[in-house]
Amino acid sequence: MISTRWLRVLVPIALGLVLFVTACAPKSSSRYADIQTETTRRNAPAAVTKAAESGGTFNKFFPGSTGTYEVVPAQEKKGFAEYKLNKDGKTVAMLAINDTAGLPTAAAKFKSSTETIAGYPSVEQGTTATGILINDRYQVKVLSRDPAFTRDDRVDWLQKFDLRGLAKLESAESVVVAPANRKAKSGKPTPANSPEASPIPGLPPILSPQPAT
């Protein structure tokens, strides 16, 4: 009798709990569900703005192979070029230049930068990447792919790029970037800022905290 009475009490509670929990559980939603929806809807903005410099433009600014280090081409896409830095046949770092036109968050992180490398604002991103921003537009990064390749090595290699040459490319202000079709994500706070708030298209308006060491 007691157990039946207990059951009468327990069952509704248990049922309620089950319903409550299942109703609240995200329906197996991924942490990437929002970005997936946003980038696959009709008229989704291009991943790279038309105004971005072609990746091939950046090739001549990369450092060449030197000593035991070999610089090997890896990727060349619109707005982006990347080389591997190999030592003894092993990739120890990646060297990259990208155009932040149309990628305001990439440039925004430099606004809070207090350090410079070769006179350009620099940031540490995570534990393996060091980047600098040229002309408020071109981001140059060195990313360690071997623990032995330290921040000092990254700083050293950043200075081997032809940064002055890169600085002679157009700056963001002189280029008409059209982020009109790029809407800020609604609801979800991203590490980004609101592109609409930017006085100059393509320039990041608001600082935001970036993961850094």
Binding site: S30, R31, Y32, I35, Q36, T39, T40, A44, A46, A47, V48, G55, V72, P73, A74, Q75, E76, K77, K78, G79, F80, E82, K84, N86, T91, M94, A96, N98, L103, T105, A106, Q125, G126, T127, T128, A129, Q139, K141, L143, S144, R145, P147, P191, P211
Partner: protein, 294 residues
């Protein structure tokens, strides 16, 4: 819209026949391939970053890049998937022919009803698929054999494993030691219409450079000629033979119980390894680009 890239990578198998077959090639390139699966896991492993906010940021950029068709990553995935499933059809026909016959090794040697012709086309088309997919992923004009050859020297990880599997499973095992010579002479003597009728070629022909089947055959021949030296060098430097590949395969795939089991195993091998390692390659590239761009 097809399946999201993060799901595709999350669902890559950690075991099973494709993975076992690829593991059997560890003796060829020791430690080079560790079957990296899972989208976030790939981000963490490739970049060495563990900060969740940063992982999220990298993942979002990678997904954005993949979902933009003009970026070429979807075409690369399509190529890897299609060449596998198209060549799988060849495998199915061959296997049906062999059911109930032979020992395992005998079966391997006679994988196809017309092994040399069909396998030669298969091998050549898969090789060209690698070139075209490589160009799509890395942003090089689609007919740039020279750029591919330069990059091939630097192939590592899953990309090198895919080439090892191509040489072993689509070259050495079905065609034997001089598979590059055999395949090249057969491809050279082939008519465009014969190529046009091949199932593997039909699957991916739209993305192979060339105005028509004759032009595409030309590109395939050129690609094979250009890559032949690399393949021959790979085989000799690794000491690869038909029997040591088969022996290692037999250590990883249990085919002793019933013939149908190993038939299924081999079918699976022929169907999935390009896709499996292809997804791994393109995810790595996406992640490398994303982390550099953000």
């Amino acid at each position: 819209m097809s399946k999201p890239i993060f799901k595709i990578v999350d669902e890559l198998p950690t075991g099973g026949l494709t993975v076992s077959a690829l593991r059997s090639l560890d003796f060829v390139i020791p430690g080079q391939w560790n079957n990296l699966v899972g989208f976030d896991n790939t981000i963490r492993t490739v970049t060495g970053e563990t900060d969740e906010a940063l992982v999220q940021q990298i993942g979002e950029r990678a997904i954005t890049l993949f979902n933009d068709k003009s970026e070429g990553y979807q075409r690369a995935l399509w190529l890897y998937e299609t060449v596998d499933s198209a060549s799988g059809l060849l495998g199915t026909a061959a296997l049906m022919n062999r059911v109930g016959q032979d020992t395992f090794l005998g079966f391997l040697k006679h994988l196809t009803p017309k092994p040399e012709r069909a396998q030669s086309i298969d091998l050549s088309v898969k090789l060209v698929t690698e070139i075209v997919a490589f160009c799509q992923i890395n942003g090089i004009p689609g007919d740039s054999i020279g750029d591919f050859l330069a990059a091939l020297k630097d192939y590592s990880g899953e990309s090198l494993m895919r080439m090892a599997a191509l040489v072993s499973f689509d070259g050495l095992i079905p065609l034997g030691a001089s598979f590059t010579d055999k395949a090249l002479s057969l491809v050279k003597g082939m008519s465009p219409s014969e190529l046009g009728g091949n199932q593997t070629f039909k699957g991916v022909k739209d993305l192979i450079p060339g105005q028509n089947d004759a032009g595409k055959l030309n590109f395939i021949t050129e690609s094979f000629e250009a890559t032949k030296r690399w393949m021959d060098g790979f085989v000799s430097s690794k000491g690869l033979t038909q029997s040591n590949v088969a022996d290692n395969l037999s250590k990883f795939i249990d085919f002793s119980e019933d013939k149908l089991d190993y038939l299924g195993a081999l079918l699976d091998v022929s169907v999935k390894y390009y896709r499996h390692t292809g997804v791994q390659t393109l995810t790595r590239r996406l992640v490398e680009r994303a982390v550099a761009e953000i």
